[in-house]
């Protein structure tokens, strides 16, 4: 999706403003918002890629104007309603008006420590990797209206395979309910000037993590 979230290389956002001694959370609701998202993710009703798509699909003005955790809160409301887990009327009322649906699992307090570790996204490969380190590749010029992890600034560009990272869940299909469709993942290295032209510092190098369907031999 060519959305506002795909920010690499955009101009006009100003300086980065680090906050000295930044707290983990700036308000109690942020902490609860994070934890609610984690606990609902644990139920298995949606995938991580579907939650990322849920942020990307927010209207651009809402995306830019909302704090990070506000985006997470709005996304969670949207997902809960879209999956029929609760009605908008219930969220509005702040109470359940109807019984819940059965879910695969529910996160108990005692199990929380085990969920602090990320799961593995590696999957068995259906075929050998098409590319090897040192191969020159060109990223495809694709513009899917749905979730993808190939950023705009790195489309239709020539780079070099630096590393093969294994075979992973493919976000582009996982995000739209079409399954994991595992694909080989590569670190692809680009010269800064390939991405940004002569304005780039000559020594700059930028890499992306690219799934095999994004690439063709160069």
């Amino acid at each position: 999706m060519d959305g506002i979230h795909d920010m690499g290389g955009m101009h006009g956002f100003g300086k980065v403003e680090p906050e000295p001694n930044e707290p983990v959370f700036h308000a109690a609701w942020e902490a609860h918002c994070l934890a609610l998202n984690r606990a609902m993710g644990y139920t298995g009703i949606w995938t991580i890629d579907q939650t990322r798509a849920g942020i990307e699909e927010l209207p651009p003005d809402i995306y830019l104007m909302s704090s990070y955790y506000k985006k997470w809160a709005v996304r969670l409301e949207n997902l809960v309603v879209a999956r029929g887990l609760a009605g908008a009327d219930e969220i509005e009322a702040g109470h359940a008006l109807r019984p819940g649906k059965p879910l695969k699992r529910k996160l108990a307090a005692a199990d929380v420590p085990n969920t602090l570790t990320r799961g593995s996204y590696s999957r068995p490969a259906a075929a050998p990797a098409r590319f090897a380190p040192g191969d020159r590749v060109r990223t495809k010029n694709i513009h899917p209206p749905t979730h993808t992890r190939l950023p705009r600034y790195a489309r239709d560009k020539t780079g070099v395979i630096e590393a093969v990272r294994g075979c992973h869940v493919f976000p582009d299909t996982a995000a739209v309910g079409q399954g994991e469709d595992p694909q080989w993942l590569y670190t692809v290295l680009f010269e800064g000037r390939e991405l940004w032209g002569d304005s780039a510092e000559p020594s700059l190098k930028v890499s992306i993590e690219a799934f095999e369907p994004y690439l063709e031999p160069a």
Binding site: H5, M7, V24, V80, L85, S122, L150, P151
Partner: protein, 214 residues
């Protein structure tokens, strides 16, 4: 902090705007949590344990221990750079470090910077939750085409002949920068070394502390 904003909602516009979002969001998240709990999808006790973990257990002190060990122990450094998930797992820092962690080494020739231009991917297990600036539009937009300018925003100036390498975290791989060990720390214990390792030095937007200031 939160109650402060609610108690004084009538200050200038900026303050009022922020205060409004705060109280609106407090109510909104509380409503959502109540509904999800009453529906039986979440256990409020688990919510409290998750919050406590991210406030107290997971944080950049974990990554700092990894970096300090790599500085002090060449065999561990080699293992870390070869397969960070595997190398870090036996340290018992958390229950277990997940897959796909990759450590990248700074050298006099190359300085590494980590970003996620598409969202906010960040190595939570070794650095905790990402700071606001890491998730912000200015960082995500500029890190890939003006990293030296971004470093200047952090007050960091690198030698002109140090090349910058930016890693865009566009998949489930996660990156940890192994900064250069500061000179003047020969013979230091891992614990003392860890105190020099800042969060930003493990993202690539900062450098370790000067041993003279530690």
């Amino acid at each position: 902090m939160a109650s402060n904003h609610q108690d004084h909602p009538d200050h200038d516009d900026d303050y009022h705007g922020h205060g409004s979002e705060l109280s609106e969001m407090q109510l909104r998240v509380r409503a959502l949590e109540t509904v999800l709990a009453e529906k039986g999808y979440i256990d409020p006790e688990a919510i409290d344990v998750i919050i406590e973990a991210y406030e107290t257990k997971v944080g950049p002190h974990v990554g700092a221990r990894v970096v300090a060990k790599a500085w002090a122990n060449p065999a561990f450094k080699q293992a870390l750079l070869a397969n960070a998930s595997k190398a870090v797992a036996p340290l018992g820092l958390l229950n277990r470090i997940g897959d796909h962690l990759i450590a990248v080494e700074n050298t006099p020739q190359q300085h590494n910077v980590i970003v996620c231009t598409l969202c906010s991917c960040y190595p939570w297990e070794v650095l905790g939750l990402p700071p606001v600036w890491y998730k912000s539009a200015p960082y995500r937009s500029r890190a890939v085409n003006d990293p030296r300018g971004v470093l200047a925003d952090f007050g960091v100036t690198l030698p002109a002949d140090t090349a910058i390498r930016v890693w865009d975290s566009t998949a489930e791989t996660r990156f940890l920068v192994l900064p250069m060990r500061p000179p003047g720390t020969e013979g230091w214990t891992e614990e003392r070394l860890a105190a020099l390792v800042t969060r930003d030095s493990m993202i690539g937007t900062g450098l370790p502390k000067n041993p003279k200031d530690a």
